[in-house]
Amino acid sequence: MDVTLAAEHQELREQVTEILGDELAPLIRRMADRPRHGAAPDDAEIRALVWQALTGMGALGLNQSPAPGDRRGLRGLAVLAERLGEVLYQGPLLDTVLASEALLRCAPDPGRERLLKEIAEGASVAAAVRDGGVRPYDAPLAAGATGDTVGAERRFVGFAAEADWLLVPGRTADGVHRTALVRRDQPGVHLRRHEELGRGELYAVRLADAPVTFWLTPEGDAETAWHELIASARTLQAAYLVGLARGALRLGADRLKERRQFGGALAKQQAPAFQLARLATRVDAAHLLTQQAAWEGDTGRDHRLTAGQALAMAATLAQDTGRDVLHLHGAHGMTDASDAQLFYRRATVESRVLGSPARVRADVMPLLWERGPAD
């Protein structure tokens, strides 16, 4: 039983930390944030730069050719996702690697190989799955009569406007689960940006007879495959949220050290210090449970319960940390200039995009009573 990160994952963490280093981090935090006042920053360049850097370090291949014994490369991806959350990175990276996992679960096929290669080389995918429900494969989907087009409506789809592909799972009227890969730039793909709390890149996506490039058909039991894929999505989102909480926590601790009130440093006050110490403990707890979910997925164990629990835990943690750190900043934290409000808004949105914590727990609840004893 080894709870510590493996050497290769520690290396990966250092590598990502370097790429998203101190210089870039403040810029990354503001990526894809469209303030309501003043001009939206033109961050196309920095976005492209970060994407290239991540692609360059092999982020998109982490689950395509994982380390030996890592069936899905989830541990490495979780390490990556955590660092991304820490700097509030926003972009299609997690959706893209999940699309890879979905493709890898299909039988080998020239189309599949071509797509995987394209992704490894930097193509991005937006997962058009976020309808607020916890079981996106049950969202309605219509396959065209000839089988080469798809119709569907999805909402809260991140970065739909700049992704190369859209991944669209759902269930047809006759109850069959199908998943389409659609090129974003095709006719029949209609996008509308949401005005929402995060002020980010979330879109309503309407597909009207949009041409399908590839229908994904998992090998083995499709139901199980989709459940596991959702578990992987939850694992990575949990890792992202753990990172987000960690980043907010650091901001809060720094603020306490700077700020003086009633003649003393806030850092010396016991109540806020204990508050942050509690949050720091929860960050480590959620980090470890997320890594456990990743390990279960990587070793072919059933990681659905753990992934759901980790996501619910990390989501609650991220929300609480964003809220408390904003509070510790006082009114200053609420100004556009402060990152505290940014962490708070992002935490609120990101903790819910895969379903609220209570919904996620309800979804995995039966698995708790079915679980065998731990090793």
């Binding site: 005005e195 709390l197 309503a204 003086r260 003649g263 109540a271 609420m334 209570a358 727990r361 309800a362």
Partner: protein
């Protein structure tokens, strides 16, 4: 305990409701709510209330009020918020600045400044906070330098609301250096239109813009002093203490929770979320009782700092929690802003998430309230 309103209270609430339920008022409210983060000028709603003497019900008639009680003032706050009318101008102008003038103002100051506020034609602001002095007024850096029979004020004030529209503001400035940090502060009624006053926006997460107000040697005289020179600490403490009932915070919590209850049935929710809403509803009801207990106290001429602190603390914390839980239970659509075509109720819960963080900060932070409760209430921290 008798929670039924008196006939006068019932009548006043009905009158306010009737006005706020008119199509014109609804339309103006909706227009404000669908432009999150932007602000126009003064609201017509305020003028409509003012015309009928409803805006400052507890002020004497001679200053434009209706001579009613503190309960009617609380009812107005509840109804404004329940109807989604932005209430900050009312809180600042009528509840805080108006109260300050009524308690400490000279007849001249009152006759000059109060009636336009009561008519809804003018708003007033508050300039207490500074970059290094939030809850801690002892750290104030704005200086009032003697200049003949008056003073010249210089300093930078932050996080003030409505000062871009206000004619004047209460402003705390240091008139005398003192070893004792809370001695030597004076409260001035500072005009905001003249040169020497610069008002710049500090855009923020909420729908109400903050301002940074820079005073560059603007001149004030004895005429502009509120209360006694050097005793501003007492003035501020008294006003903030009396204004601290939690009434506005519990009203917000109620509005947000009701928005979620309206948009969901118990069946549409995850069971744990439904349970949470039942518990939060109890918390909001208790917040209302705590707030009204303070209103009762004020009515009876009592003022109890521990009860005030409890009411503010509880309403602030509960309100913030309600915003997050209610929007969480109502699904992702709850996060759509008022200007999104698919938003729920003009984005009421999205706005709640942005307003919520202020609830535990405004009108005394939760930590300041807990300090009062622990020390004055429980005899701890001594």
């Amino acid at each position: 305990m008798d929670l039924a309103p008196t006939p006068e209270q019932r009548a006043y609430r009905d009158e306010v409701r009737a006005l706020l339920d008119t199509d014109e008022v609804r339309a103006e409210t909706a227009a404000v709510r669908t432009r999150p983060g932007t602000e126009g000028g003064l609201l017509d709603i305020y003028r409509r209330l003012g015309e009928r003497g409803l805006l400052a019900p507890n002020w004497p008639r001679e200053y434009g009020g209706s001579g009613l009680g503190i309960a009617e003032k609380a009812i107005l706050t509840e109804e404004l918020i329940a109807h989604g009318v932005p209430d900050i101008a009312h809180t600042l102008s009528v509840d805080i600045v108006g109260l300050a003038l009524l308690l400490y103002g000279t007849d001249r100051q009152k006759s000059r400044l109060l009636p336009p506020i009561a008519r809804g034609e003018s708003v007033a602001g508050v300039l207490f906070s500074e970059p290094e002095a939030g809850s801690d007024l002892g750290a104030l850096r704005t200086r009032a330098e003697r200049d003949g029979d008056g003073w010249r004020l210089s300093g930078r004030k932050v996080y003030s609301a409505k000062t871009q529209l206000a004619d004047f503001a209460l402003c705390a400035a240091r008139t005398t250096e003192s070893e004792v940090p809370f001695h030597g502060i004076t409260v001035f009624l500072v005009p905001l239109r003249p040169p020497g006053v610069a008002v710049e926006p500090l855009w923020n997460i909420g729908d109400e813009r903050f301002n940074e107000v820079t005073l560059s040697g603007i001149r004030v005289t004895e005429e502009d002093v509120l209360g006694t020179v050097d005793d501003g600490w007492g003035v501020i403490g008294e006003i903030l203490g009396l204004e601290r009932t939690g009434i506005e915070f519990q009203a917000k919590a109620r509005r947000w929770l009701d928005a979620a209850l309206e948009r969901t049935g118990a069946e549409g929710l995850a069971p744990a979320e439904a349970d949470r809403l039942v518990a939060l509803d109890a918390d909001v009801r208790a917040a209302r009782l705590l707030a009204w207990r303070c209103v009762d106290d004020l009515h009876a001429g009592r003022s109890d700092e521990v009860r005030s602190a409890m009411a503010k603390y509880w309403a602030g914390e509960t309100g913030r929690e309600v915003a997050l839980a209610a929007s969480g239970a109502a699904g992702l659509d709850a996060l759509l802003a008022g200007d999104d075509e698919e938003s729920l109720g003009h984005g009421v819960l999205e706005a709640a998430c942005r307003e919520a963080p202020g609830l535990t900060l405004a009108s005394g932070t939760s930590e300041v309230m807990l300090t009062v409760i622990a020390s004055a209430g429980l005899g701890l921290l001594a």
